[in-house]
Amino acid sequence: MEALELARWQFGITTVYHFIFVPLTLGLSVLVAILQSFYYRTGDIHYKRLTKYFGKLFVIIFTLGIVTGIVQEFQFGMNWSEYSRFVGDIFGIPLAIEALMAFFIESTFLGLWIFGWNRLPKAVHLACIWLVAIASNLSAVWILMANSWMQVPVGYEIVGGRAELADFVAILLNERLLVQMPHTILAGFITGGLFVLGMSAWMMIRKQQTEIFLKSAKIALVFTAVASILTATTGHDQAQDTVQTQPMKMAAMEGLWDTEEPASFSLFALIDQEERTSMREVRLPYMLSVLAHNNLTSEVRGMNELQAEMEEKHGPGDYIPPVAIVYWSFRIMVGLGFLFIIISIRGLWLWWRGTLEQHTRFQKATIIMMFLAFVANTAGWIVAEMGRQPWVVYELLLTADGVSPSVFESSIWITMIGFTIVYGILAVAAFYLVYYYGKQGAPEEQEGVETNLHTY
């Protein structure tokens, strides 16, 4: 493999891994804050026990989010120095603001929250976890601003071969950001919601502290139901924006080789990238026109036409992303998204009927959903990033031109193997700890006696 491919594999491995933990912390931080708010308002000790239970699991997961996040910030410069030189003027701003505005708050107030149970007044202590939750989600806003700019570059001008900032407000209000940010954060809320629901269901199946975990299950159900419906609607907005701003990605998501008017939606296809055709297709007539443009007649452009157009604009080259991966990832994400809506509405129905705590089959299903949320997140991220290839900054910089020229292949092998091994070990350790502490159930708590979340 060449340095470019190695660097891409490394970025893919480290980013997908990082993105296992981050969405979960986005949702889980908010849910822990909600649980503690319930305790603060009602004084019901069950909510305090739930706060401690999910708080412990949150800190385990959050730790992995932090440590893999540092790698993310460093590897732009390490593996992608030419990319960094090209985009630094613009891309660096949200990264620096993310650290100043979000990371400092998260780290300081998480420390205060973990170790401050017996030091801080109750209201101040509650404010600490809310600040952690808000800052976690704020950090998502800033990093997605950076990513949105890679998808749809705005507010720049090319000066001396670099993208220089021309209009900061345009970057703040990038329309891609306005659809991608809510979609991604809400997906994080689903992930957190399904985690709390799945863990609560696990406890109820084991007939352990059913009374306590029924409360967290109900909160998680409402949370997940709202988040999953909004994720679908914002996802639809994002797809419609993609039709306009990244038609090639859209065509790859649909496996659409030739322009159609009206366009049909593909349910199944075997994609042959080399021959540029799809076989054994099952298509729903008109549906893609409806999804892309909200009517029955509009045209959706295919990859062949877009490839010709890009060649004209940017010179010879292959501008078609890996279609099969993008096509199937998109279908997995959307399919799972609908499944999450169905399962959370089914849960609300069972709650209404008063059978939530006895319905073992539903409880088992939620445990599976808890894991599938990660599959959906990864698939979504793959659609966004692989669908942009061969560009790293859409239509401005090719991925191949972003790689570090001074780094040897052997060095990348070392770091890739090193990160993969360490990340693998950490995944096993974290999974075991979540299992171990999950199984123990909510810790005993007494009214009026405050102990820290943990002591090192």
């Binding site: 540092i70 410069g77 030419e82 630094g88 400092f104 420390g111 900032l165 570090s404 360490v422 002591t455």
Partner: protein
Amino acid sequence: MDLQTIWFILIAVLFIGYFFLEGFDFGVGILMPFVSRDEVDRRVTLNTIGPFWDANEVWLITAGGAMFAAFPHWYATMFSGFYLPLFLILLALIVRAVGFEFRSKLKERWWRVTADQFVFWGSAVPAFLWGVALTNIVMGLPIGDDMNFTGTLAALLNPYALLGGLVSLIMFTLHGALFLSLRTTGEMKERVEKVARAMWAPAGLVLLLFAALGYRHTVLFEELGLIPGTLPMITIVAFIAAFVFMQIYRFGWAFAATGATIVFGTIVAFQGLYPVVMPSSLSEDFHLTVYNASSSDLTLTIMSFVALIFVPIILAYQGWSYWVFRQRVTRDAIPRD
């Protein structure tokens, strides 16, 4: 003062803050196996930095982000040039954080011994490598006309740079010992104070050697001349003051003095570099300076406003967290298990 200079100073401030703050928690991690008599002691040492280490590390993340935004070429050249050392630093920071957070989660002995190794190596390796990296920058690196590093790993591991690594390692450890004396009680406090006092002379020797050889190895001291000038003098005085304060049992002041040594030592390095940020050993024409490595004025202006608003707020709440946890960590505070 132009925007580029302001941002050079701000990035220096972020690294200085990082070295001062994470300096002592590296020191605590390095000393943990040596000053602890038993399991409770080990947990006491770790809990002295429990609520702080993560926020201390954010100073580095912010420095990285600010370099990326304000001086993209500096960020790109340095991070791709120091590829393998930074990889080691990253691995160290990963296992260190995991060591802290996961250690007390399970009772098995092998688990805790492994976590102890993570904490020790995770602290010692970056404490050493930051010194190596900074010394290399001050010495100049083989940077070509395309701003890219053209050397190899072996070039980075030259004897003088390794000595620089020893300086940061020993200074952070001393700084950490003094921090521990402020945060612990009883026998533990006495032990770390003994360690701090024993470490002063060797640390002084390494520092002296580093400074003396600096005249031969770096451009920094050529510019200074034989009489070092105000900032290096403050560094030296601060270091000597640390000794004096330890003799009269003022360990709080001694901690401030080692802190000042680290702060002013870092200032000397940055001030000596300015306006260059990455000197090239190949040709003066290939130096990265605050001007040819910087972002556009618009980016720097926007970032200036952001920094102006957020840095004071950060200092306020981070300071407050140190105030909340000002009580010393006692053996009784550690739960029995």
